[in-house]
Amino acid sequence: MNSPRTTTYREAMREAIRDAMNRDDRVFLMGEDVGRYGGCYAVTKGLLEEFGPERIRDTPLSESAFVGAGIGAALAGMRPIVEVMTVNFSLLALDQIVNTAALYLHMSGGQFNVPVVIRMATGAGRQLAAQHSHSLEGWYAHVPGLKVATPATVEDARWMLSTALEDPDPVIIFEHASMYNMEGELPLDGGPVDLATAAVRRSGTDLSLITYGGSLPKTLAAAEELATMGISAGVLDLRVLRPLDTDAIIAAVSATHRVVVVDEGWKTGGISAEIAAIIAENAVWELDGPIKRVCSEEVPVPYSRHLEEATLPQVQDIVAAGRDLVAR
């Protein structure tokens, strides 16, 4: 068995794109500044030189048109990877994602599936202020017809894309911008991962921390700190927000009887509310205490560092919620 190597989330994602481009002529990538600029988070750096401008296509700032064009090309049998610079700008393409990509298969009676992959950066934490700090993964997860993937490890960054490209239906991949520099181990014999199941990232017996995406590193840090206090916290990484792995959520609750949901999105109408509802519907008698949620404050994310920190879920908030729950 080969030993693992260390790489970054960004490089793992680039490797995934390169690999997909090499393996399948139908795959091409388009988006704003993906080519000459190298990608606004440098994920696609060097790919233009490697694959040329036909397959690494710089687009104008026309989110609706190029996302729609990706959908159209997918309908015609291509396997486009559309990069939307950030989730914030994806709102300009909502019509195409929600009204076209998500609906066409059902509305056409099964005739037109849309095998498009849409990648976008998400999340806050870098003092970019309200219009560049949204976490709207939960919104997209609301819509039947879409699949929503949130790779939170280097391994998922490396391997979720190929599975998404093989999927006959639209998959949106959310990459939390704070994770691009994150280092992790990549087994050399790794391979495609599923887009259906959650993963236990740490086992625990006293409580379960349920999270996804950019909140996973914070949640793991909180579990580590709780351990120093003698509290054994398990961490469930949802990995995919649609379809949600309901069985894994119920299993986590049934194992520890206490649960904290950690989500950078807002609480109201958010994915954390959905998780809480799933627990309430399916496993309420398993609970030894209330379901706790650590989410962003219900405000637009502010610029000022101390205000932004106060807005977002922090390690200490997760630790406090866990301690409080176990102390009951």
Binding site: P60, G72, A76, P80, N99, Y104, G109, Q111
Partner: protein, 323 residues
């Protein structure tokens, strides 16, 4: 295909659409068809003329006023009528209805009921052809109302920038639902908008099927030969209300009557009769055959079945795994 179509064929195609939709209106009153029903009556020459210029391998993206396009593209009228009935035998299994007719075999990509929403899709279909080196053409239909949407401008620019084989077919029937063009656009010469993206753009008499066919033929030929996207503005008029719920408060009866003098079916019929290429007998026979075909379609829809509710959740996602 256009060259092989005789004037009588063109008349018959327009008549099929006219009579089919008149029947749809009756069936709506009879509550056989529900939801929104947008009739194309008055605009038939556009769909018939453009479809005649396309080849089977080309793609079509249409709007929610697309019965005419679907019929002219060759989708089975029984499957269209069954769709309006909401039956399983409909061309979208009854999931789409009047506004969402689909047919993969005919490369008919809907039936898009978001104004402007089909334009980016058409750009993508054409992009796929461009990447594969195929010489197929994608024709996308939209009303003049769509010109106010950002998606129109984004799509126009992208298609021109990438030199993609798209035929933009703007059906200018002067009213976006109830809003007249001059009340919604600072520049009402739509070809100028296309020209600003370096897209060849022509105004065409959309009430004259021969003029439509000629313009579409030239444009398709140029697009197919690698001439990049083209824009055709068809000047036309819908004789009926926007939908079955529209009391038509925004336009005068006189205006409608003036346009009806230019009825694409009647004017063309009179023309063929005058030049001796259509006898009264032939016209009557054409009417009979069209009526029979529509009777057959209605009968097919009536005999259709309802999709079992257990199948409701089918096709939210594809069946059968990876593609």
């Amino acid at each position: 295909m256009s060259a092989s179509r005789s004037p009588k064929d063109l008349l018959r195609e327009m008549l099929r659409i006219r009579r089919f939709e008149e029947r749809c209106a009756e069936l709506y009153q009879a509550e056989k068809i529900r939801g929104f029903l947008h009739l194309y009556i008055g605009e038939e020459a556009v769909a018939v003329g453009v479809m005649g210029a396309l080849e089977p391998q080309d793609a079509v993206v249409a709007t929610y006023r697309e019965h005419g396009h679907a019929l002219a593209r060759g989708i089975d009228p029984g499957a269209i009528m069954a769709e309006m009935y909401g039956k399983l035998e409909g061309c979208s299994r009854g999931r789409g209805g009047s506004m969402h007719l689909f047919d993969a075999a005919k490369r008919f990509y809907g039936g898009n009921a978001i104004v402007g929403g089909g334009l980016p899709l058409a750009v993508g279909l054409a992009l796929a052809d461009h990447l594969r080196g195929s010489n197929r053409v994608t024709a996308v239909f939209f009303g003049e109302g769509a010109v106010a949407e950002g998606e129109f401008h984004e799509s126009m620019n992208l298609a021109a920038l990438w030199h993609l084989p798209v035929l933009f077919c703007c059906e200018n029937n002067l009213y976006a639902m109830g809003t007249a063009l001059e009340r919604s656009e600072s520049q009402t010469r739509l070809t100028l908008k296309a020209a600003s993206y370096e897209v060849p753009a022509w105004e065409v008499d959309g009430m004259d099927v021969l003029a439509v066919g000629e313009a579409a033929g030239k444009a398709v030929e140029s697009v197919r030969a690698g001439g990049g996207p083209h824009f055709l503005e068809f000047r036309t008029f819908r004789f009926r209300a926007h939908s079955m719920f529209d009391p038509e408060l925004y336009r005068s009866k006189e205006e409608v009557e003036i346009w009806k003098q230019r009825d694409p079916v009647e004017v063309f019929r009179t023309r063929l009769k005058a030049d001796g290429s259509l006898s009264d007998d032939e016209w009557e026979q054409m009417e009979r055959e069209v009526t029979e075909e529509i009777d057959g379609a209605v009968d097919f829809a009536e005999r259709g079945t309802w999709e079992p509710i257990e199948e409701l959740t089918r096709f939210v996602y594809s069946e059968g795994g990876s593609s």
